[in-house]
């Protein structure tokens, strides 16, 4: 392999890495070739002892993802890391995306429940106010008004509590997802 071929291949396997970083990486290998040539080695010899550009590229990409997970804003970084990992083709889709999607779905469901609880309280109050105006549409059937008011406050409060709980649960979810991805990356890195 010539210098040109080696650098081109490496560049190809660095896809997904930030442009600035990519340039820096390629620069290091160019310098390596340059000094090797000054030491009277041939391009082929240097490329041969550097090793497989594909494996080197993978190494850089894994490090870049690990750095991102560590530095970036939590939720965004995790989504990026999940898809970047997938794009690397290291995981079987069901291995990482499966559990991640399932847990995310449960989380969304629970959030919907909290929202529904809160809204239903508001709806009862609205119904109370609107009943005299639209007697044709809304019929509370003479249920005790005090009971309705207390019930709606109770249900809304429950929804609010659920939402507070969900905030904590979501935080845990992102933390756990971060750890899980890092764990996976560490395994494939070896």
């Amino acid at each position: 392999m010539t210098k040109e071929q080696f650098l081109l291949q490496l560049k190809k396997y660095l896809s997904g890495i930030a442009e600035v970083e990519k340039k820096e990486i390629l620069y290091d290998y160019e310098e390596h070739f340059r000094i090797g040539l000054e030491n009277r080695k041939t391009e082929e010899e240097i490329a041969e002892s550097l090793g497989n550009p594909k494996i080197l590229g993978k190494s850089f990409r894994i490090d870049a993802i690990l750095g991102q997970v560590k530095e970036g804003s939590r939720a965004g970084a995790i989504w990026r890391a999940v898809f970047a990992s997938l794009s690397l083709g290291f995981f079987n889709v069901s291995f990482i995306l499966g559990p991640f999607a399932a847990l995310a779905a449960v989380l969304i469901g629970l959030w919907a429940m909290a929202g529904a609880l809160g809204l239903s309280g508001v709806a009862v109050i609205l119904a109370l106010i609107l009943e005299p105006l639209f007697p044709e549409v809304i019929r509370l059937g003479g249920i005790n008004i005090a009971f309705l008011i207390f019930a709606s406050i109770g249900v809304s409060a429950l929804g609010l509590l659920a939402a507070i709980g969900m905030v904590q649960l979501s935080k845990w979810f992102f933390l756990a997802a971060e750890k899980y991805i890092k764990f996976n990356l560490r395994i494939i890195k070896k």
Partner: protein, 106 residues
């Protein structure tokens, strides 16, 4: 040799060597590959990672032969880390030697 094991040892070697003086990439790679059988290219991801962890700084320095070269310089944080790794390594080697003793290669 086991890849995972080799990578750990390589990290230790790079840290120890860079504690002695500043190196440019090619020089460091040659120093290591003279002693250990590796794909030379794998040193660069390692250097990059350790630099990002603030164990090394880099700077450019003119050379007599041509364009400037990128040098790696150990930081205080890197020295601390090297000390920890070196202690771990020595404990490990002592343990292994205790276990295998004077065993001959059959």
């Amino acid at each position: 040799m086991n890849v995972q094991f080799k990578k750990g040892v390589l990290e230790l070697c790079v840290l120890v060597i860079l504690c002695r003086k500043d190196f440019y990439g090619y020089e460091l790679v040659q120093t290591i590959s003279k002693n250990i059988d590796i794909s030379e290219g794998t040193i660069y991801p390692l250097l990059r990672r350790l630099t990002r962890e603030d164990y090394f700084n880099t700077y450019l320095k003119e050379s007599e032969e041509g364009p400037p070269r990128k040098y790696y310089k150990m930081t205080e944080k890197g020295r601390e880390y090297k000390k920890i790794l070196l202690e771990e390594w020595n404990r490990f080697v002592d343990g292994v030697n205790n276990l295998i003793g004077e065993e001959e290669v059959a």
